[in-house]
Amino acid sequence: MQKTKHCHECEKNAAVLTEVSIPIGNEIFKTKAYSCQKCKAIEMTPKIRKEMDEWGKSLKKDVISPQPFFTEATHHFLDQMASQFGMKKSPFIKALTSYYLNVAVNKPNFLSIQEKISKLPQTSLLNEGTRSKITMPINYMLYSKIKVFCDVWKTTPPKVIEEAVSYGLTLLSVEDENFEVLKKIVEELRQYITVLSQAA
């Protein structure tokens, strides 16, 4: 008889070791794990998490392709700033998103900085007018960050990218001498993108 394990999700002794398919964006991660026959929950052990991470990092394909919408002014400014950093538009958007999710949100005063940025005239200038979409292929690592942000803030991947781009572009449009508080953050963002552009 097949060995069963207690499932902490439904509290039934109904989990069996089996092949499981876990969707990660548009891709499927397959492994052997205890899966509950009643509620279908999966036991995510340290070994399986590690296996999944290694699989994700080794993927040659992107796992999602969200389609954020940007105004004409944003598209134009994105092109301009990307070329200033010697990057193409898509990697530049990814760099802004990565900065937002790995650095900006971890600042203790993130919300007050965000509020300050949203009140700058540049933010409204970048967000006025008709919008057109762009397809953004996202790899596993960035997808993992986007997913946590979406879970926490109850939002969607395209919205996260739109938010990150608006945040980053507004910062890059700030004249240092006029906005003392944001000076260091602008410099930090510039350095972050420079490092990413060199790595690319």
């Binding site: 902490h8 999700e9 279908k40 929950a41 999710l101 946590v148």
Partner: protein, 115 residues
């Protein structure tokens, strides 16, 4: 380098506080969580525990469910900044044994949710 089961168990017993034992499990990536498919868990919810003060209270109760392991369940409520949002999180679980032995090898998460 990752600790062996025996080394982990030894460190677990050496920790004098419950919060210290929980921190050890998270730091050493020795926790198991049951998730619906597709999973929606991220370690981002647990890593803030590592910076909680060592005086953080952890409630301990007799365990009524689960598999083989310590017969006490641990409950921790903590506030954490995750992705720029302040969340209050509830964590419940117990330390489980390895298969066939009574060596403490993992923290079995029974519940992890936003309060």
């Amino acid at each position: 380098m990752a600790l062996t089961d025996e080394e982990f168990a030894a460190k677990y017993f050496a920790e004098s506080t419950l919060i210290g034992k929980l921190k050890l499990a998270i730091k050493e990536d020795r926790y198991t969580i049951w998730e619906r498919n597709p999973p929606n868990f991220s370690s981002a919810y647990l890593t803030p525990i590592l910076s909680l003060p060592s005086s953080t209270p952890v409630e301990q109760k007799d365990r009524e469910s689960g598999g083989r392991g310590v017969n006490k369940v641990l409950i921790l409520k903590y506030r954490a900044m995750i992705m720029g949002k302040s969340l209050e999180i509830y964590l419940k679980g117990y330390f489980g044994y390895d298969e066939g032995h009574e060596t403490i090898v993992v923290f079995e998460i029974q519940s992890l949710k936003e309060v």
